[in-house]
Symmetry: D2
Subunit: 171 residues, 4 copies
């Protein structure tokens, strides 16, 4: 895709939100599991950013938003597969932010810490919502509001990283 | 101040923004300098939060926003006095967030990284604005927009910490 | 104290290990409590380092070791008083390391994470040792060994920060 | 390899030190480059640890040491390829440490920050040694001494992470 192809609709924002968190004991992981995690969370994020940059850099404007998790910041027991992939994505996001910020591209990384109150998690862990109590899971609209805010930030005051968690979440 | 005194205007948000960053070689600092830094940046933040909590906790709602800096995260050479005070404030903010979040109080910490395009800095370093170039300093309105966003976050998706810097800032 | 006073025994290493960790709810803390914590843990560390630097800098050699804790890195609920003081000390240690490293002074910060198997804690929490199991508390000799290692590091390979915790400690 | 094969020489320590740091602009990287970096630095470290654990866990003792870099902690511009791989390795090391520490296996991560005074770097950047000055590069023996120290730590006082840099290195 190029600007020439779509002069009517320049790309203003690109949100990367692939990935899934599957715990597994360290010795039960294999290369396929780790590589799959890394491909979905980190490598796909790289290709995604590169494609967005191709379109955004000529106009020297655009916003690229990556979705992270608490595993982006540290590797807990049983979560090494997810954490290594999310940590890799975070390093890529930081690197892209530092290289392309001064070229007008806003790159940010959102650390989602908590269960998301959406179809996937509610189907997989149906008891979680009651256990967490009112507003104890992340409302997708509440998350989206933060992406919207990042998108609207003027270039004089850009955020690279913010965390988001429900009020009752232990951290 | 108490809710009884002002039933018409309950306290919804409290923003702490005291402090100043004065570099000084380590051995040129003395107890008075360090204590002054700590009192203005950290201890005042504690008293501020405590007073706000007195009013907010009975209603189980309210937002307390602390202003940090890159020095909140690490101590650079010549900036030990400021960094120790800002690091102390950050630890207090984290501790308050963890204790009072589940009681309905949103505590957040904003890491300001860059020069603020306001009267104080422009008077003190008049050449900075030209040197940094267009939008190279933090616009106070842009900063304020982030505080406003934090204030509006629903309790299902609270941010504790975010950074804010101009697009051209090296980090 | 000066080198002139003790030409026979130049100061090679200075270890700062003051402080105590007293949890307290945020709103039960007062200025006196916070200031006491800060004075013992942070300000005393500054004076200590300054006095050591006076003696070490003329010879362009010497090692200053600060004792930290997990609270140095983040503020948990109920531990804001301790965390703000330890975070302040850590910022000072980083700042001193960056300023004086190139002048030949090795400044390091040891993050102690776990209960110390010494008289104080065993008297205060007599059941902890059994609860933690064999080697579940930090052996003072084991801690000391790390300080000794830091002291012996050649200037081509200095450590600024390391953590130390018992094998069974959750982190 | 198994204990049965070598009853005379049980595996006590395993040191992982693969990898190389090749800067590259973000958009000049491709999937092959990123995957190669990840395979050498992160995936190989996983297989290495798994093989060592197979031998160490039955005896409930052993030490696994991973080599990191400043890129393990953050992604600088031009260094995203290396940083994503090293960040992934660090997350794996943390995860393994938390899972296997209580089973008697000591897992640690050494953050090497600076140029290593060895054949590779001296051939590649022959002017670096003079530029950095005396002891301005990391002496391999000095690095090794730290691995030796980690290996000897008693289980009551284990280090998970330490940094190592020359005295004149800016950080």
């Amino acid at each position: 895709m190029s600007e020439a192809d779509r002069p009517d609709a320049p790309l203003e924002v690109a949100v990367f939100n692939a990935g899934g968190n599957w715990p597994r004991p360290f010795r039960d992981m294999d290369g396929e599991f780790l590589e799959g995690m890394w491909r979905v969370n980190a490598l796909a994020g790289f290709f995604f950013a590169k494609a967005a940059l191709d379109v955004m850099l000529p106009r020297q404007r655009g916003v690229i938003l990556f979705t992270g998790a608490s595993g982006s910041l540290r590797g807990k027991a049983m979560f090494g597969g997810f954490a290594q992939a999310k940590a890799a994505l975070r390093a890529l996001a930081q690197s892209a932010s530092r290289e392309f910020g001064p070229q007008g591209i806003h790159v940010a990384h959102v650390v989602i810490d908590g269960g998301i109150d959406g179809d996937r998690l509610n189907a997989f862990l149906p008891g979680m919502k009651d256990e967490k109590g009112p507003d104890g899971m992340l409302d997708p609209d509440g998350i989206a509001e933060n992406y919207w805010t990042l998108f609207q930030q003027p270039r004089s005051a850009w955020t690279h990283e913010l965390d988001v968690r429900p009020w009752v979440e232990t951290w």
